[in-house]
Symmetry: C2
Subunit: 307 residues, 2 copies
């Protein structure tokens, strides 16, 4: 790959760092894709060592794919959207990271998702994956909602659906709720119908583990299961609420992303469904866009000082 | 305390081992209290080392209070009701413990609570503390409900109320729910009105930590706060459901124990409140009763073999 390793202009790296994995893309100044990489969790809540290792691992993969070496890290202009850095203490921690890049422009995973979805233009986005949250970025005004974490927040997310499923199955097992297909589906997935086995299985479950079971709620609902439909109604009501709140800023575009988005959409209010527009690019490309924008701002500021 | 240390008959130790602390009582054959002790968590879910250390620490305290020494452990006939041993794997772990006692009779914390509440007679009990669960023990039939752990189970418990409080405050902060007194009370308790500070505060919160905030929901409800009343209605509905299910066995007595019980009672259905009878003894004395009963059964079985 002599073309890429011979690149003389600036190179941009976009990082989408979530709670379970981190994706990076490496592009040229004119947006040609040179390489991609995948690492572990890049959320500083799990510790800075884990987060920065994940980022460096994924970056190394992208550089290797581009025929470049570790030393080329120093050439990269990086945009990073990381889960957790909406919390000031984690933003500060990451801002102080002695990174090996030419520059490192930090924002949240939600922000780069919104930028990516609308290619940097004004718009709103809801992420419904392991967690749930929404952001509108309209005329310089930012409004973010939800994303407070499981179990106090993140209603309507994968983790929330999985937890609700287990909760309702246990109610049924205790004969406090009617028969539900969810009990059969969970028993099959866990490999046992025994209450204690189910309790054991989820005893130390993380949001990511709960989220794995979320699709089963939609399977049951498609077969008309009343309990599943009731759970989805409740989860969708929360996502609807986020959407309507974001619409108050009158975003010209609105996208939903995340593993659960396409499953949830049919259960949302018609007025929310009608506003949906497809996401134009993945969050990691939103991170590239953010890096370019920040770099330009920085350059303008430097020019202003010089003149 | 030469009276107690000079005790020649059998000595009984009762253990009430929960997820946050463990209480023991030491009594003579004719039920005279010789000493008491308090230790850390005795729930094997946190590891056998922690659990057995807690039990031994509390036992040592009780022996010291009785003027006895560590060596007297070998004289004790022990009844232990421990949280978590309803799970077969933890029951097995604790059954295999090389304990230093004369004998060790193991059952659940819920079981000894029921025995204690009704002095060994038939009855039903609901524990509403950090967790929530119920047991009826009538004509040799045992029915236990709930107690599946936070956050999938334990509705109407302290942990559940605390979590619901945080959830509703975050909804209000996101302007997805109306103003509630809970926001003011939580801000005061946490020392900040900022959403991110609240999220930070509860980020790694255990059920015990959530449960500490449960009383605030009742404070707000007493002042007529609609959100607090709605949460209590929902929690009380679950506790009612447990009670009605237990009543199917027609228990002659019914008690509620645990830190949240007296707060919940006024919100329960009239028919549930009417059935309430005071608990006759604390769970650790239920554990003593259980030890005596098991010892007698063992003795009868041995006599049967001899004859």
């Amino acid at each position: 790959m002599s073309i890429s390793s011979g690149q003389q202009g600036p190179l941009y790296l976009g990082i989408d760092g979530g709670g379970s994995k981190c994706r990076v893309v490496l592009v040229t100044a004119d947006n040609q894709l040179l390489g991609e990489g995948l690492g572990g969790p890049a959320n500083p809540l799990r510790g800075m060592k884990v987060a920065t290792d994940s980022i460096l691992t994924a970056t190394q993969q992208a550089l290797t794919a581009a025929g470049m070496t570790f030393n080329d890290m120093a050439r990269l202009i990086v945009g990073a959207g990381l889960a957790g850095v909406n919390m000031p203490q984690y933003f500060k921690l990451f801002s102080e990271w002695k990174h090996p890049f030419a520059s490192f422009h930090l924002t949240t995973d939600l922000h780069i998702a919104c930028i990516g979805a609308h290619d940097g233009a004004d718009g709103a986005v809801i992420i419904a994956g392991t967690g749930s949250c929404g952001l509108a970025d309209v005329k310089g005004q930012l409004l973010d909602i939800g994303g407070h974490g499981f179990p106090c927040g993140d209603n309507g997310s994968g983790a929330w659906f999985g937890m609700q499923m287990v909760h309702h199955v246990l109610l049924h097992k205790d004969k406090l709720a009617p028969q539900t297909l969810l009990s059969d589906l969970l028993a099959e997935a866990v490999g046992s119908t025994a209450t204690l086995d189910i309790v054991s299985h989820f005893m130390h479950a993380t949001p990511t583990i709960y989220a794995k079971y979320a699709p089963l709620v939609f399977v049951a609902a498609e077969q008309g299961d009343a309990t599943a439909l009731q759970i989805i109604e409740q989860g969708a009501a929360y996502i609807n609420q986020i959407a309507l709140k974001l619409f108050e800023l009158q975003p010209p575009r609105f996208s939903m992303i995340g593993g659960l988005a396409h499953k949830l959409v049919p259960y949302l209010d018609a007025q929310v469904q009608q506003q949906l527009t497809p996401a134009l690019a993945a969050p990691e490309f939103g991170a590239i866009w953010y890096a370019r924008q920040q770099q330009t701002l920085l350059h303008s500021a430097q020019l202003a000082i010089v003149n």
